[in-house]
């Protein structure tokens, strides 16, 4: 019998809340974190997309000046979220040789990289900061969290674009089940609201161009959706072997029942229109967690609000859950906080855990005319009460490269 893995700590810093209590309150209320960017560079480079969903609490309000200087913004968010999750877990004593980290990013230290490039061009090599390499490396967030918590059972960095944060949960589960660790701090962080990524994502027509109305730009499943809204921040979860959590009398939010990772092998960016890779991921996560379709009551969908992305996810959910899908309520929380890329799966896992724990599904905003080709039961207006008894929520994440990751959260 495999070890059971439970979730005992949650942390987040997002466009709709700088900590978990604020995030959860706003996710139930339904607010938009997207706003016109005040930054000078939007006009300097005449960017086609002039808005994004920035973290509502700047990391500088939480971290010290010296910490800020030595960390890329993505790592700053990671440390903020991981510290909150660690504190929330209440762990006071732990065998540090049995404590691991799995902290993802989609893009890594893009601010550091491009700042250093500017410095090199403008001031020469002597002025390039000695901290540049450790700040830009994609394993920076995982390494910083490992250093901060003294986690010595490995610090892993899944990099699978927008599936990264969810893949971190998969790694965490495997580390505990296989006996390599007792506690794993999982998560994802991203800080890519920089003119270059903004221009790049816009160039591939992935971003919404609703410049005159940013708050209504992220509209998953709506017939007038025209792309995703760039977000930033981090999410973190403390995974723990059940016996370890019980032995210290921890508050257990939920069980991480099953996880999966698959690849489309179809196209570098376009999702398989039949959602085959996503279907296999959903079925594999359910198989992994010994979950029947009837156990599932809620899905936190990937649903980025792109014209081509939202429908194959529906197709996959239908294939995996069959007619039971009609009894499942779906939340598309990117409608509120935008798309946090490599952090999205972690933050949405936090929301899925809270949904199961509080038996309440957060709302989807901006859904005015639901795409008739996506007949899902979407939670709009007010949060949805979830049933009593044993329930399961699924969280899907898909990334450029054809990456699919799913986690299944079960009530305890």
């Amino acid at each position: 019998m495999a070890r059971k893995v439970v979730i005992t700590g949650l942390g987040a810093t997002t466009p709709i809340g700088g900590d978990v209590p604020t995030l959860w309150a706003n996710a139930l209320k339904g607010v938009s974190g997207a706003h016109t960017l005040p930054d000078e560079w939007v006009e300097t480079y005449n960017l086609p997309v002039k808005f994004a969903a920035k973290a509502s609490t700047p990391a500088s309000e939480v971290l010290s000046r010296v910490e800020m200087k030595r960390m890329d913004p993505s790592t700053q968010f990671a440390v903020v979220a991981a510290r909150e999750a660690w504190k929330d877990s209440g762990i006071e004593e732990v065998d540090h040789d049995r404590l691991a980290v799995a902290f993802a990013t989609g893009i890594g230290g893009v601010w550091t990289l491009l700042d250093a490039w500017d410095t090199l061009k403008e001031k020469g090599p002597r002025r390039v900061l000695p901290m540049t390499v450790p700040m830009l490396m994609p394993n920076g967030p995982a390494a910083a969290v490992s250093l901060d918590l003294g986690a010595r059972a490995g610090a892993h960095t899944p990099v699978s674009a927008c599936a990264s944060g969810t893949e971190a949960m998969h790694i965490g589960l495997e580390l505990i089940r296989s006996g390599k660790a007792d506690v794993v701090v999982c998560g994802g962080a991203e800080a890519a609201i920089h003119p270059m990524p903004m221009a790049s994502f816009a160039a591939m027509q992935a971003l919404s161009k609703r410049n005159d109305d940013p708050e209504h730009a992220s509209r998953p499943y709506d017939i007038d959706r025209d792309g995703f809204v760039m977000g930033e921040g981090a999410g973190a979860l403390v995974l723990e072997a059940e016996e370890h959590a019980i032995a210290r009398g921890a508050t257990i939010y939920a069980e991480l029942a099953g996880t999966s990772v698959t690849a489309d092998a179809y196209h570098i960016t376009a999702p398989d229109p039949q959602g085959l890779g996503a279907t296999r991921a959903l079925k594999a996560a359910m198989f992994d967690g010994l979950i029947q379709p009837e156990d599932v009551v809620h899905v936190n969908a990937h649903a980025t609000s792109t014209p081509v992305g939202d429908k194959p996810e529906y197709t996959a959910l239908r294939a995996a859950l069959g007619s039971h899908l009609d009894n499942v309520c779906v939340s598309a929380t990117k409608s509120q906080m935008g798309h946090l890329l490599g952090a999205s799966g972690a933050v949405e896992s936090v929301l899925s855990v809270l949904a199961v724990y509080h038996r309440k599904a957060p709302v989807t905003i901006n859904l005015e005319n639901q795409d008739p080709e996506i007949p899902l039961d979407v939670v709009v207006g007010t949060p949805r009460e979830l049933p009593q008894g044993s329930i399961v929520a699924l969280n899907n994440s898909f990334g450029f490269g054809g990456h699919n990751a799913v986690v299944a959260i079960r009530s305890v």
Partner: protein
């Protein structure tokens, strides 16, 4: 040209900016590594910032000889002369 006191004060500001150490902690007889716990990456950042602030060149091979704050102050003073 700055006096040794001015160089010390300027250096202390750079160290404070990089490490968060109080400027008063940066005293002439203090060792960068032993007393101030400054790692090699921070030391290089301090060196480059000092080059800019005092308009001097501190060659990379010289940095290992700057063991104490006094070593750095004296080197900068000599380089400015």
């Amino acid at each position: 040209m700055a006096s040794n006191e001015e160089i010390l004060a300027g250096l202390a500001e750079i160290v404070n900016e990089e490490t968060g150490l109080e400027t008063e902690a940066v005293e002439m007889d203090k060792s960068f590594t032993e007393d101030l716990d400054i790692d090699s990456i921070s030391m290089m950042t301090i060196v480059v910032n000092a080059e800019e602030k005092f308009d001097v060149k501190i060659p990379d091979e010289e940095v290992k000889n700057l063991k104490t704050v006094a070593d750095a102050v004296n080197f900068i003073a000599a380089a400015q002369a």
